[in-house]
Each structure stands twice: as C-alpha cells, then as structure tokens.
C-alpha cells in the first residue's frame, strides 16, 4: 500500500539522513565512518534502503533487539546485518568521540582501553570449582549470564548462534579481519580510529578474537578465516570479557560513584582527589586494563590475565553449553564415557573439539556421584552399628535409618 513514488521517497530519505532519530541518520553515519555502502552491507537495493532510512532508529536500550527485529521483518533485511551496522556506526562514533577526548586530556590512550584476546590454543580449563558447581553456578557467573540474556530471549536451540544476541544484547560491534593478529588490530585501530592499543614492542601473534572496549562500547575483532564453530566461541568469549571485565565493574562504579564514569570512559582524567577517594572507597576506577600479556610459551603473562581469561572461558561455556542443562542431559541419557559426552558437546552444542575434550572430563566428574567425605563415612559407621543393635527386620517399630536416607537423597538434591 504505497502511494508515494520512489523519487519523492528518495528526497525524504536523503533528508532523513541528516536527522537524528531516523535510521537514515545511522546509515549515513555508517557510510561516512566506515566507508562501507549500507546497501551492499545489507544486501538490498537503493529503493529499499531509502524506505529503511525513513524508519525510526531502534531505541538504544533494552528494546534495541526487538526494534531491530521489527524493522528487519518489515524491510526484509537480515537482523544480524542490521544490528551489526547500527552497532558499528555507534561504536565508530563513540570511539572517535572518546579519541578526541583522549587526545585533549591524556597522553597515553591505551591506559583507558580494555583489551583482551582469545589466543589460538587457549581452549582449556573451564570448570575449576567442581564441588561448588555441583550445587549451582557461582554468583558472579550467574550474574554475568543473566546480564548477557537480559535483553534478548534465551535461545533454546543448539548450537547457539550468538551473533544476534551479542549485537542486540550488548553495546558491541563486530569487525572481521583476515589473519587476525595483534598487529593487524593495532594497525586497524590506529588507521581508522586513531586509537593506540599500546602494544608497541610486543611480540605479534595470531588470535582467534580480540576485544577492545572504551567509552561504554566495545569492538570485537574476529578472524575472518575462522569457521563457524571457532567464531561462535570467539564471540562468546569476548562478550564474556566485556561483561565481566568491563560492564560489571562499570556498573558498580555507576552505582557507587557515577561521577567517575567519565574518567573510566576516558573522557577526562581523574583528579588527584578522585583517585584517592576511589582507592579509599574501593571503587574500581581502573577497570580498563590490558589483558593481552602472554608469555613466550603462550600462557597468561600475569595472574590477573590468567584469572580474566579463565572467567571469560567459563562464561563463554555457560553461554554456549549451559552446565546444568548438560548435567541433566548426561544423567538422563546415562552417558558414562568421555567420548559420548565429547560427541554431545561437539555435535549438539557446537563446541570445538579442543574445548569439548576438557569440558567433557569435568562434566563427567560433576555428573558422577560425589565421593564420600569423612562425615559420610562416620554416618555409615554409625548406621552399621545401629543395625547390629536393632531388632530383626519385620518388627512393628522398625524405622528407616537416618544415614541410609541421607545417603540416597543427598546426591539427588545436588543434581
């Protein structure tokens, strides 16, 4: 039901490109800052692009995802492409803005940037707290996962494709670069964004993915040569970094010292008084940290980096293959051997084999009945003594023994 000819719509679309609030404004920003043609990016012709420009821009809050889906359905464009375009436009604009502030106020911009990477061959060690995990997820992990799925519906299909969830649920943009490495990222940032990643003098190395966050937004670089499986893990891993190392500390600062957000985002340097009060008040003013350090052997350079990488892997696994869901499936299917669980992780949940091996081992340990502890042994001992003193079975006052009941019910509760 269109009455307006395309020429007039084109005039309107061109005018909308200079008005914030219309999608056309975002399209123009995207084209100006990235040099990409939005029509090519979205794979639509010029007429549909003009109509798209006349839509209102998605709201940048919890409704972003649903707005993108509504526009995509109406204009018949891929939601991931549209969300990616919008996030890129926002990220580029924000980074340039922050970049200008950094140039004005701060000598070393790298100190204000969170940078973390997923190196090749780092898919190990996921579930360390076996006992704690058996009764539920740790609080920090639960909070991170909740935050990820807060603005997009949790996907019940596996393997989970996190592209749209990452773009719609978090202020993250995704940039694909071929043969991703520290150097290629640093050059890209320096060339297009005038951001110094601060890796001069470091050894270059290949990466699966890398996160650069500043000013409240983040850029996830992924290796364009990676397959879908690796890309899936990369997105989850870097999104996890963004949540755990950036959003949650930032949220804490916003709650306790909102005036320090500008400092954290690199828009202005902290005053000496603010630094002192932040230290005394235990406000994480220094959330922006380099997490890129690795030893020559490829291990984390510091405990801080090791800890951050472990948390990111843990959250990523929880996003891609939720532990409690897996344990339930393992018990229900009575999977007992590592190969079966590994196959489940690879084929059903889409994890890479290297990551599935490690995770399968730990899931089997969690799924097996817990080893009896000292108290369990004492209970059994007392139970055995009690049976010797009791009357023979079948008497009227017979009651089930306490230890026996607990020994059968406790593992069930754990599960």
């Amino acid at each position: 039901m269109t009455w307006t000819d395309t020429a007039l719509l084109e005039v309107a679309a061109n005018r909308a490109r200079s008005r914030a609030g219309f999608l056309g404004y975002d399209l123009a920003t995207f084209q100006e800052l990235t040099g990409n043609d939005p029509a090519q990016w979205l794979e639509i012709d010029q007429t549909r692009l003009d109509r798209l420009a006349l839509c209102r821009t998605p709201r940048r809050d919890a409704r972003f995802g649903q707005d993108v889906l509504a526009i995509s359905a109406h204009m018949e464009v891929a939601p991931v492409s549209l969300a990616g375009l919008l996030r890129l436009a926002d990220a580029f604009a924000e980074i340039q803005d922050v970049g200008r502030s950094i140039e004005e106020h701060i000598d070393h911009s790298s100190t204000q940037v969170l940078a973390a990477a997923r190196d090749e061959g780092e898919d190990h060690t996921v579930v360390a707290d076996v006992v704690g995990a058996a009764v539920g997820l740790p609080g920090w992990l639960h909070e991170a996962v909740e935050l990820f799925w807060a603005q997009v519906p949790t996907s019940g299909r596996f393997p989970r494709d996190l592209d749209f969830a990452v773009l719609a649920g978090l202020p993250l943009a995704v940039v694909e670069l071929p043969r991703l490495s520290l150097r290629s990222i640093s050059e890209w940032l320096g060339r297009s964004q005038r951001i110094d990643l601060g890796i001069a003098g470091r050894r270059d190395r290949r990466l699966h993915a890398c996160l650069v966050a500043l000013g409240g937004i983040g850029l996830i670089f992924v290796d364009a040569d990676d397959d879908a499986t690796q890309r899936r893990v990369s997105l989850a891993h870097e999104a996890a970094h963004f949540i755990v190392e950036y959003l949650l500390p930032r949220k804490e600062v916003a709650r306790r010292r909102p005036e320090l957000l500008d400092v954290i985002d690199g828009r202005r340097p902290a005053t000496s008084r603010e630094r002192l009060s932040a230290v005394l008040g235990d406000v994480p003013i220094g959330v922006h940290t380099h997490l890129l350090d690795r030893t020559d052997a490829g291990h984390a350079g510091t405990d801080r980096v090791e800890d951050a990488e472990w948390r990111a892997r843990r959250v990523a696994l929880e996003l891609l293959a939720p532990q409690m869901m897996l344990l339930e499936q393992i018990r229900r299917s009575k999977l007992r051997d590592r190969a079966s669980v590994r196959m489940l992780l690879v084929h059903e949940f889409g994890l890479p084999a290297s990551l599935a091996d490690d995770y399968a081992d730990q899931l089997l340990r969690l799924a097996s009945p817990p080893q009896p502890g000292l108290l369990d042994l004492l209970d059994r001992h007392h139970a055995a003594e009690g049976r010797e003193d009791r009357p023979s079975p079948g008497s009227a006052d017979e009651e089930p023994s306490e230890p026996d009941r607990s020994s059968t019910s406790e593992p069930e509760e754990d599960q």
């Binding site: 269109t2 007039l8 209102r56 204009m75």
Partner: protein
C-alpha cells in the same frame, strides 16, 4: 531547497496565490486575471492595518512573533507548533474546498483516468479523496499507523511517509501552482512529514485528518518561504518612493504637503521598500491618481493616523471651518477605504 529555483519562481510570485485569491471568494473574475503581488506579510505594528486577506489560515499566520518567523525559509514545525496548533477549523479549511471544486483547477490537471494528481476523481472533493485514502485496506490505516508511531513502532514512520507524501505534495501543488515544478514543494512536504514523524504526538487526531494537518503545516512553511523570498527580492529593488512618487526620494516632503513631523514625512524606507516590493503601492497609485489621496492612505492605513487636523492638513482643507473640514476628511477616508477594500488590502472588520 534549491535557492535558484526559489528565486526563479518568485519573479512573479503572486501567481502562486491566484488560486487562493479566487478560493477565498473575495475577488471577482477581473481580479483573477490580474497578477496580485500581495500575501500576508508580517508588517511592523504601524503597517498592520494594511492587512492582507489572501491567507486562508489567519489563526496561524497571526501568531505572535510572526515578524521574526518570516525571515526563516523553512521553519521546523516541531518547534513552531509548540504552544500553537494549526487551525483545522471549518473556517480555515473551507477556502480550500472551494478551490478544489470551483476554481477549475482540478479539471485542468487531471490525468487520463480523470483523476487529479492526488487521486481525486473529477468533480470530487479533497475530502472524498481523503476518505478513499483511508479506506484502502482497513477503515483508517493512517490513524492506525499514527497510533503505532506514537506507541513507539519503528516502521510506522516509513508506512506513513509512503502513504501520505504523494497526496500531500499533490495538495501543495494545487495550492502553489507556480512552484509545482520546483524543489520547493518537495522540500516543504518532506520537511513537514519528517517533523511530524519525529514528534507525532503533536498531532491530535481529534483535530482532523492527518493529511490535512500536514497540509496546513506545509502551507504555513511555504508562506514563510514565500515571504522571505519576497523580502530578499525587495531588498534588491530600488524603492520607487515612500509614497509612490518615483522622482522623489523617500525622505523628501511630498509637494503640497505641509510639514507634519519627521516621523510622518520620512517613514521608514524599509517599510516603503517592502510595500514596493510587494507591489501594493503600485496598485494604490493606479487606483488613486490623486497624490493627496495616496498621502491620506499612507497616513491613515500605514501610519495609523486618526487626527482630523493632520488628515485635513494632508488634504489641504485645514483652512475650512471645523465642521466642513471634518466632513471632507471623513468623505476622503471613506472613498479611500472603499478602494482599499476593493483591492483587498484591508478587511471589512478593520478600520
């Protein structure tokens, strides 16, 4: 907006209003044949009595601060409409209906299918077309889309633009025929539409159809554009004179006129330029060959002079007895008033 197109189209800007004049029903056939160079202008307070009647949206154009607004070619309706609502009352819309049905425009611009550019059947009215537009798929798709837009729907804006831009442009073309081949009407339609889409809550569905509301806003923008263009053009013109004598500089005292104070004898040249630019004074000269009569008009309707003594001085009858003097002044004023009324330069309810 194409400035060149605007300038070209304003070389004979009054043709743009010919339809409006005929729509207003205040001009005869003879008037329609003559180019009029008058539209509502935001005159200084002293010039306000010289009220023009061509604008069918008096409650809009008479808003306070109109003088400043006239300098802005395309004012944003978003800010413009804060605190002021376009007049969609029957009085305001009636002239337009007249125009569609009685000025012969529709038949002159019909397509082969016998429909006007915005789909109005020949002999039909704009309201009929609006009803057609609203009855395409559901009882009121425009209203439904508006409601969704207000509720935050992100695609309703595109739907509304697709539905309304063409009909809106067609209406503007009918109102502003001299500009129908320029970018000006496109710009006005698009700007008004985008302003509405950015702040849809400004439109009250109870005030009338959305298309008409947009038309009113676009018409107002075009009126402002027109005024600005005229003012720019007027500045470039050499003023003919303060009171119509091309040989006399504006500050010189007219021949035969007695000194009556610098303010009266040397009126603001800018005002004179504006009048000359609008062609109003040229028409006054044609209608009033007698110079003293023109001076009387200037004093009474431009400067607001009401003193019988002063007016008698202008007419050269100040030597007569008081009663005769008063009668001569009154008669001269009545004659001049009737002429101005016939020219459409003043309203009945004024003076």
């Amino acid at each position: 907006m194409s400035v060149n197109a605007l300038q070209r189209s304003t070389l004979d800007p009054l043709g743009a209003h010919r339809d409006l004049e005929s729509e207003s029903g205040q001009f005869g056939a003879e008037d329609n044949q003559q180019p009029h160079s008058l539209d509502r202008v935001d005159l200084p307070a002293s010039l306000l009595p010289l009220r023009l009647v061509l604008n069918p949206w008096p409650s809009i154009s008479r808003a306070p601060g109109g003088g400043e607004r006239a300098n802005e070619p395309f004012r944003n309706p978003t800010s413009r409409c804060s605190g002021e609502r376009p007049d969609t009352s029957p009085r305001a819309t009636t002239p337009f209906r007249y125009g569609a049905q009685h000025c012969g425009y529709a038949s002159a611009h019909n397509d082969e299918a016998g429909r006007t550019p915005d789909g109005i059947p020949e002999g039909g009215s704009v309201d009929d077309a609006e009803q057609d537009l609203m009855g395409i798929d559901c009882p009121d798709p425009i209203r439904a889309a508006h409601d969704r837009l207000v509720a935050g729907d992100r695609v309703a804006s595109e739907e509304l633009a697709s539905l309304l831009l063409d009909p809106l442009l067609a209406r503007l073309r009918r109102r502003w025929p001299r500009w129908k081949h320029t970018d000006v009407l496109h710009d006005a339609a698009v700007d008004v539409m985008l302003d509405y889409l950015q702040a849809p809550e400004r439109y009250d569905p109870g005030s009338g159809p959305l298309l008409r509301w947009l038309e009113v806003a676009a018409h107002r923008d075009l009126t402002n554009t027109y005024r600005s263009a005229r003012q720019r053009q007027a500045v470039e013109l050499v003023p003919l004179s303060a009171v119509g004598d091309p040989k006399r500089a504006p500050h010189e005292i007219p021949n035969g006129a007695a000194p009556m104070g610098q303010a009266r004898l040397a009126p603001d040249p800018a005002n004179a330029e504006r009048l000359d630019g609008l062609g109003a004074w040229r028409r006054v000269r044609q209608a009033c060959p007698d110079k003293s009569e023109r001076e009387l008009i200037w004093a009474c309707w431009v400067e607001g002079e009401r003193s019988t003594e002063v007016l008698a001085n202008i007419l050269g009858v100040d030597h007569l007895p008081v009663e005769q003097r008063r009668r001569r002044v009154k008669d001269a004023r009545d004659v001049a008033r009737r002429k101005l009324l016939r020219m459409g330069l003043i309203d009945n309810d004024l003076d």
